[in-house]
């Protein structure tokens, strides 16, 4: 069941003219995806794998719709080449809303294995990275989305278990 925070996140996407969203589901992102499904001001096209989603986003951008991708941090292991050779090389703005699995509150030990690499990989790729830990951190989303369009880069927004547990 979607919460207010899920509607707020989607509302910020719409307010920033994001017109195309692709997703690979994560339990933490279920509420956002539920809201997206009912939002007719943007096009939601689920993808099977996150690098495919990056391709969809590049095409949508060239078609005149601002894209966003929503995925889990495990996807960082999938999308490196697509981000570097397509999004960064062609200078396409792409907000990436990422569930930061494997942080405090995680129940699945294996998720920690990717969590310990997440920020290091994003830093290695020179991707501007923001981390939502407390509910009020989400107030920055509007500014981050504007910043993404301004700098024409992929930008990562990590959202951890504490954020999703405490945000209403």
């Amino acid at each position: 069941m979607a919460k207010h925070i899920d509607a707020k996140i989607v509302g910020d996407l719409v307010a920033n003219d994001i017109g195309f969203v692709t997703t690979v589901p994560c339990k933490q992102l279920a509420g956002v995806i539920e809201v997206l499904e009912g939002e007719n001001r943007l096009l939601h096209v689920p993808c099977n794998k996150e690098d495919e989603g990056i391709g969809l986003c590049a095409g949508a951008y060239m078609g005149g719709r601002r894209p966003a991708i929503i995925m889990q941090n495990t996807a960082i292991g999938v999308v490196v080449n697509a981000i570097v050779t397509l999004i960064q090389y062609y200078q396409i703005p792409l907000p990436m809303l990422i569930s930061y699995r494997g942080e405090v509150g995680e129940k699945v030990a294996c998720q920690v294995e990717m969590a310990v690499h997440t920020k290091a990989l994003l830093a290695q790729l020179s991707i501007p990275t923001y981390h939502f830990h407390k509910p009020e951190d989400a107030d920055e989303l509007d500014g981050i989305l504007k910043h993404t369009q301004m700098c024409k880069k992929p930008v990562a927004i990590l959202t951890d278990a504490t954020f999703w547990r405490t945000a209403q």
Partner: protein, 185 residues
């Protein structure tokens, strides 16, 4: 008939349509034959031509032709289910199926052995899938453009390449001039 010869037959069909072209030799051959601002050349990122084309077709009304290859589609096979479930009437996906990874030295792909991309596309929910011989490709693409229905064309051609220079264009220039065409400027 090899891919380069197929591309030559397609030039009159492309007209002013938007073309998203696969990485490596296909883009280099198209660039040498007829560089136009309506061509989007992939300089990297194997496998994503069909995904870029679908995102583009779903986001604006102009017709989009994707020139893909059997090896690249095999790399991103699930793309066919995304295309099949989100049909864009303005999308033509041309899979130049020469049964080999042309850009890397013509190593054989599984599409040249037991795997039928035509059957895979149909099983993935693509409603209009046409398999044709290389010589029939231009007519198949032309018919698909006229039909206003999302069409997947699997063109069975011979393996082989011609000598072409690499593309040294700036990627941002490729994207920006392409986007200007999308906007109709």
């Amino acid at each position: 008939m090899i891919r380069f010869e197929v591309l030559k037959t397609l030039l009159p069909v492309f007209g002013d349509h938007l073309v998203v072209c696969n990485i490596g030799l296909p883009s280099q051959e198209l660039h040498m034959l007829a560089d136009r601002p309506t061509n989007f050349y992939m300089l990297g990122t194997m496998g994503l031509a069909s995904s870029i084309g679908l995102g583009l077709a779903l986001s604006q009304p102009k017709k989009v032709i994707v020139i893909d290859g059997d090896g690249s589609v095999l790399t991103n096979l699930a793309t066919l289910s995304t295309i099949g479930n989100n049909p864009a009437p303005n999308l033509v996906l041309l899979i130049v199926d020469n049964g080999s990874y042309g850009s890397t030295g013509d190593q054989p792909t599984y599409a040249g052995r037991k795997t039928s991309l035509t059957d895979v596309a149909r099983a993935c929910g693509c409603d209009n899938v046409v398999e044709c011989r290389a010589e029939e490709t231009a007519k198949a693409v032309s018919d698909a453009l006229d039909s206003d229905r999302m069409t997947v064309i699997v063109s069975k051609c011979e393996s082989g390449n011609v000598d072409v220079p690499v593309i040294d264009m700036n990627p941002v220039l490729i994207r920006e001039r392409f986007m200007a065409e999308v906007r109709g400027e």
